[in-house]
Amino acid sequence: MPFFIISRILSTLTVVFGVVTLIFLLIHLVPGDPVQAMLGETATPTDLEALRKALGLDQPLLTQWWNYMTNLLQGDLGTSLYSKEPIIDILIERFPATLELAAAGLLVAILIALPLGSIAALRKDSIYDNSAMMFSLLGVSIPNFWLGPLLILLFSLTLGWFPVSGRENLLSLVLPAITLGTALSAILARMIRSTLLEVLNEDYIRTARAKGLRESAVVIHHALRNASLPIITILGLQLGTLLGGAVITEIIFAWPGIGQMTIESIQRRDYPVVQACILLISLSYVLVNTFTDILYGWLDPRVRYSV
């Protein structure tokens, strides 16, 4: 197990190294002069030079990269061009809101997918199964930037049950969480159904039934427990969709998280903040995946011995 964990962490480190490098290079993709783009047409040459120096853009690319890496390791992400705040403070202020939204979205996804997928598997080819799979197809096909406004129209503007936007109380979390979690719930329900269908054909399920166990005990203790492994992997992989979707969801509901900050900073051409936001979301995703891998190896010894 220690060897497995170390090998996972090492491969994560190389990925992190690549991700940071790629994000560092982003600012060099700005068409024309990035400094000019950030300051706008009215900037004086003195201003341009000052910012170029402050961002280190006057130095050779390799030196810039080295500085970016070393500053990052010291927790220094630079300052925002717009608010003049240290970027790390902005991230610390904004990140909890995104985490809260992602956690709520995940909860919604599991709450919908678990019963939907399990019953679909248990009643295979029934009307229930067919409609659950139709829901699943609809769920992956409906864009969250359309679902969100529709939910607002129905539940906020017409019925007045939930606030239209913002982050005041638990009620304001409901619609964003549904918007974010629906796509994942659809994917998850499908996965749960197909994994359960495989497991339900195993010998130990027949044994459990032959012992005279209640059907609920067979399903919960014998089938779902064994089906949980592939489901955890899928969940880890799909968290990326959730985090990416959070950016759009935050914009729809004016949710004050990292995603909203990303888009606002793009509009203000505050590129250092854009880089930092993208970095934070990607690194969270990489960390979750590594954690899922390790968890999987811990739950299933076959995985860790094959490395």
């Binding site: 491969s11 197809l137 406004p149 129209l153």
Partner: protein, 266 residues
């Protein structure tokens, strides 16, 4: 039951293709502003009503179909070509080249969902070319991973070994003996890819990072409509339904295609 699941989505996709290609020849006035028609609901003379600037929504919907169709087409072409090339070569050469390419693919896969595309088009600025570029940068990895995995197993098949023994050159072997056998899994990847790209293009346009006005995109139409939802819900419903129908049809046909070709789902 079975038949409807193929006929209806096929009909919707053919309509999408038809409208996208012939849109230029139809007498449309997508940018014609009539102030007295602002937010007018659907009527017999104008089936889908007017938007917040008094432009006919049906005409803009057709223009939006064009945008999403051509973005999807280009992104699939560019990302599958690059991805298949990199994936097959990587698997064929093996060794350090393969190791490095796999690491690079891992880095691209480390960006969650649409995030890298948002970052790229945010930095490059709006415009249809930048959308195609951003989505291709995100899209090639899926094709490369698939092509690599398939090539790794094809590499040891008898017909490939026979071709090597006959002295065929590597490009010839890849072109005639490996890539043709990759086609059916790639076709399925491409089908689901189209659904993802159509949503992603609309998503970028929804965020204001996609095509520039006055070019219409279903995504920017939804965004423009959200401000008037209570008084004119048709401005949000029409583009959203169009988007949903296309994506749903692609996904339904993709499912059928996967069942038919019996490729194990990844």
């Amino acid at each position: 039951m079975f038949k409807y699941q193929i006929v209806i989505p096929s009909f919707i996709l053919i309509l999408w293709l038809f409208v996208a290609i012939l849109g230029d020849f139809l007498p449309l006035e997508p940018n014609y502003i009539i102030l007295s028609n602002i937010l007018q609901p659907p009527s017999f003379s104008e089936w889908l009503g007017y938007d917040d600037l008094g432009r006919p929504i049906l005409d803009r919907l057709i223009l939006g179909a064009r945008t999403s169709f051509f973005v999807a087409l280009w992104v699939i072409l560019v990302s599958s070509t690059i991805g298949v090339l990199i994936g097959t070569v990587s698997a064929w050469l093996g060794g350090y080249v393969d190791l490095i390419i796999v690491r690079i693919m891992d880095v691209f896969l480390a960006f969650p969902g649409i995030l890298l595309a948002i970052a790229l088009s945010g930095i490059l600025g709006p415009g249809i070319e930048n959308v195609v570029f951003a989505l291709s940068v995100v899209g090639w990895v899926g094709f490369a991973r698939l092509a690599r995995a398939q090539t790794l197993s094809l590499k040891h098949r008898e017909h490939v070994i026979a071709a090597i023994a006959l002295g065929a050159s590597t490009p010839r072997i890849l072109r005639h003996h490996v890539i043709p056998l990759l086609m059916s899994p790639l076709l399925i990847e491409a089908t689901f890819g189209i659904a993802g790209i159509v949503i992603a293009e609309a998503g970028l346009s929804f965020l204001g990072l996609g095509v520039q006005p006055p070019t219409a995109s279903w995504g920017s139409m939804i965004r423009d409509g959200t401000g008037y939802m209570l008084v004119a819900p048709h401005t949000v419903l029409a583009p959203g339904l169009a988007l949903l129908l296309v994506v749903l049809s692609v996904n339904m046909l993709g499912d059928k295609l996967r069942d038919k070709m019996d490729v194990k789902s990844r």
